[in-house]
């Protein structure tokens, strides 16, 4: 097998789409942001419990990557996956109901924020074991490869996963078996409270991925158009039989790790500095500069999203809970008697 050296993105291919597409990218990012902001309020009101890991600041990654995927592709995600699920098309109603623990939730109330599943969108969850989703993604990709389909599996994980053995086992296996896998490493610089350079001897994650013989490069994860461009290039190459590809998406989480995190491990000034690169503000400014969006358009987007969220909350409030008698359903499948 030919070993592929690490490459950097040098040839710019045009991102498909026009101003309408760019407005849609903005809309999707705003939708993820506003959904989570409402989730924070609902958490404070004790409507949502458990762990709640916010994606705020990282929206360009999920929205950009999902542009490159078809309905036949698969996604494996992490415990910070509201953005991935929404960008993939999982219904906001079913997401919100899951946050509420209702039976109408996408996991029937058994998963919660960290375990969103939707087979109809080939969204294989919400894995709360760091690195634990990578072997699943390898298996989904293996099935596609054995069947000769054109499916690509996009596997999201954070920089923290790079410290796990499962990461290295899967990078090797994917490259060894030429699996159709797009590794999407969301490098937000912190594994919970541990900074990348306090956990990793080599902090150039794309370079480390390249050492496994797969094409890997770093992307500005705060620029949704750059992310979409990279994802299209990566997914296209994977789909064409080029073996696994690795994107290091350099991003930043504006909020704390979870609702329990007092955020003592990083300077406020660092957070503020990254906020000046807010992916939503950046794209909105770019669209305005090129007269591709008006304030009225922005207001309309906000209003539509607010209505969608309100509807989702009302539906979740009204939804039934799983009867306790059904507690042990889905531990085993029904067996023919």
């Amino acid at each position: 097998m030919t070993r592929r050296p690490q490459q950097t993105a040098t040839t710019a291919e045009p991102v498909s789409g026009d101003a309408a597409h760019r407005r849609e990218l903005l809309r999707e990012m705003v939708r993820v942001r506003r959904f989570e902001e409402r989730c924070v309020e609902l958490y404070s009101a004790a409507k949502i419990r458990g762990f709640l890991h916010l994606y705020i600041g990282e929206e360009a990654v999920a929205v950009g990557v999902c542009q490159a995927l078809t309905p036949a592709d698969s996604i494996v995600s992490t415990y910070r996956e509201h953005g991935h699920a929404l960008a993939r098309g999982v219904g906001m109603d079913s997401l919100m109901a899951e946050m509420y623990g209702k039976v109408t939730g996408c996991s029937g109330g058994r998963g919660g924020s960290m375990h969103l599943f939707d087979v109809s969108h080939r969204f294989y969850g919400g894995n709360a074991i760091v690195g634990g989703g990578l072997p699943l993604a390898a298996g989904l990709a293996l099935a596609d490869r054995m069947r000769g389909t054109s499916g690509v599996t996009a596997c999201f994980f954070g920089d923290g996963a790079v410290a796990e053995g499962e990461f290295h086992e899967c990078m090797n296996l994917a490259a060894l078996w030429d699996l159709p896998l797009l590794f999407c490493c969301e490098n937000n610089l912190y594994a919970m409270g541990t900074a990348l350079d306090r956990a990793q001897a080599e902090t150039d994650l794309a370079a480390r991925a390249g050492s496994y013989g797969m094409v890997a490069w770093a992307v500005d994860g705060m620029d949704v158009i750059a992310v979409e461009h990279a994802a299209r290039r990566g997914a296209g190459a994977v789909r064409a039989g080029g073996g696994p590809h690795f994107l290091e998406l350099r991003t930043y989480r504006f909020r704390a790790h979870s609702m329990y995190d007092p955020d003592r491990y990083r300077d406020k000034s660092e957070v503020e500095r990254w906020k000046t690169r807010d992916p939503i503000d950046a794209l909105a400014a770019q669209l305005k500069q090129h007269n591709e969006i008006t304030d009225d358009d922005l207001e309309a987007i906000e209003n539509e999203i607010a209505a969608e969220i309100t509807d989702a909350i009302e539906a979740a409030e009204a939804a039934a809970i799983e009867p306790v008698e059904d507690l042990t359903r889905f531990v085993y499948s029904p067996r023919p008697s």
């Binding site: 058994r110 390898a138 296996l173």
Partner: protein, 354 residues
């Protein structure tokens, strides 16, 4: 003997005694002479032939032929696409089996020994056993994992443990332990048809076990325990590698006029309480044999269920014969001393029989 035991009609033949086709074939002197290894290999071959979604992956299963030679020859017959040698990456290839199962394949993953399976425990517990429930019933994991378990071959403390009881603790998994040729031949296909993950524990000391197997032996159920030897005086519960020792002990007891019934658990999760309890209610005395350590073991679970559900049927305390609570040692005499042996089972049976 207590009045209750006398009143229950001791000596009645077990109404639910199950015998296998192989046992029948063996009793009739018919069938083919095979080993447990060959029976397992034939089961794998049949699965690969019958269902194109089936493939096998694991360490050294292909070119090497399998660390216990179970998969010998399959690479040549089915090719590297379906007989996949993996790197030494238990977590990755077990997890890849789960992912492929989610996508509708029927993977069989081989792990060299149960000790190595701990490197994949995250995938087995946090994904295979959990995804169906955590996804609200959306994700089935029709995966079969085979692994070797048990001691008796002087391979010391990192290749000899019996940890199937740990796995039997986990809701969402089905755990089976074929102890006979018919089960080695027949449990795999049934496991592959199960929509949920099934772990097959093959005791390493059984691979060379010879016997007669009906060439037409078909699938075996993975729900029930089996009475391997009927008896009226006491019940010996065993499984996997301890079944033969229990049967040997029963022979010795028989010479002393004690008729021991021997139950092979076969499926360790979910346990077939009914077969155990039916026997205990007839014999009123129980010895449980388990190659796992006593503390927190499968034997403890069986004991608890008997005392919960048949306490007033017991005429003596439940006896257990387990592995000594040490890491399995290398030296032969120490290893033998650490493991359940027929003499220990006989002694326990005599205590139980009063």
């Amino acid at each position: 003997m207590t009045a209750r035991a006398a009143a229950s009609g001791a000596g009645a033949r077990p109404a639910t005694a199950r015998t296998t086709k192989a046992a029948e074939a063996s009793a009739a002197g018919s069938g083919q002479q095979v080993t447990y290894r060959e029976a397992m290999r034939e089961a794998l071959r049949e699965a690969l032939i019958r269902d194109e979604r089936v493939f096998i992956m694991g360490e050294d299963i292909g070119r090497y032929g399998g660390c216990y030679a179970v998969t010998l020859g399959l690479l040549e017959e089915f090719g590297p696409g379906r007989i996949r040698d993996t790197p030494l990456s238990e977590s990755a290839f077990v997890g890849a089996g789960i992912g492929a199962a989610l996508a509708g394949m029927r993977p069989i993953v081989e792990i060299m020994t149960v000790n190595f399976s701990l490197l994949a425990l995250d995938q087995i517990l946090n994904n295979a056993a959990t995804l169906l429930h955590m996804s609200g019933g959306q994700l089935n994991v029709p995966l079969v994992i085979r692994m070797t378990t048990g001691a008796g071959r002087q391979v010391a403390a990192q290749h000899s443990h019996s940890l199937e009881g740990w796995y039997a603790h986990i809701p969402g998994l089905r755990i089976v332990a074929p102890a006979t040729l018919a089960d080695a031949r027949g449990m795999l296909w049934t496991a592959l048809e199960d929509p949920d993950p099934v772990l097959i524990f093959e005791h390493g000391a059984l691979y060379n076990m010879p016997g007669l197997l009906d060439p037409a032996a078909g699938p075996a159920d993975i729900d029930t325990a089996a009475v391997r030897r009927p008896g009226r005086d006491l019940t010996i519960v065993a499984y996997g590698g301890t079944l033969a020792k229990a049967l040997t002990a029963a022979d010795q007891l028989s010479a002393d006029g004690v008729a021991a019934e021997v139950i092979d658990l076969r499926t360790l999760r979910p346990l077939d309480d009914a077969t155990i309890l039916e026997s205990v209610r007839r014999t009123h005395r129980v010895v449980i044999v388990d190659e796992g350590w006593r503390s927190g073991s499968l034997s403890a679970e069986v004991c608890a269920r008997i005392t919960e559900q048949a306490f007033y049927d017991l005429d003596a305390p439940v006896e257990r014969v387990c592995t000594a609570e040490v890491p399995i040692p290398y030296a032969q005499h120490l290893e033998e001393a650490a493991l359940p042996q027929p003499a220990g089972i006989v002694a326990a049976a005599r205590r139980a029989a009063g």
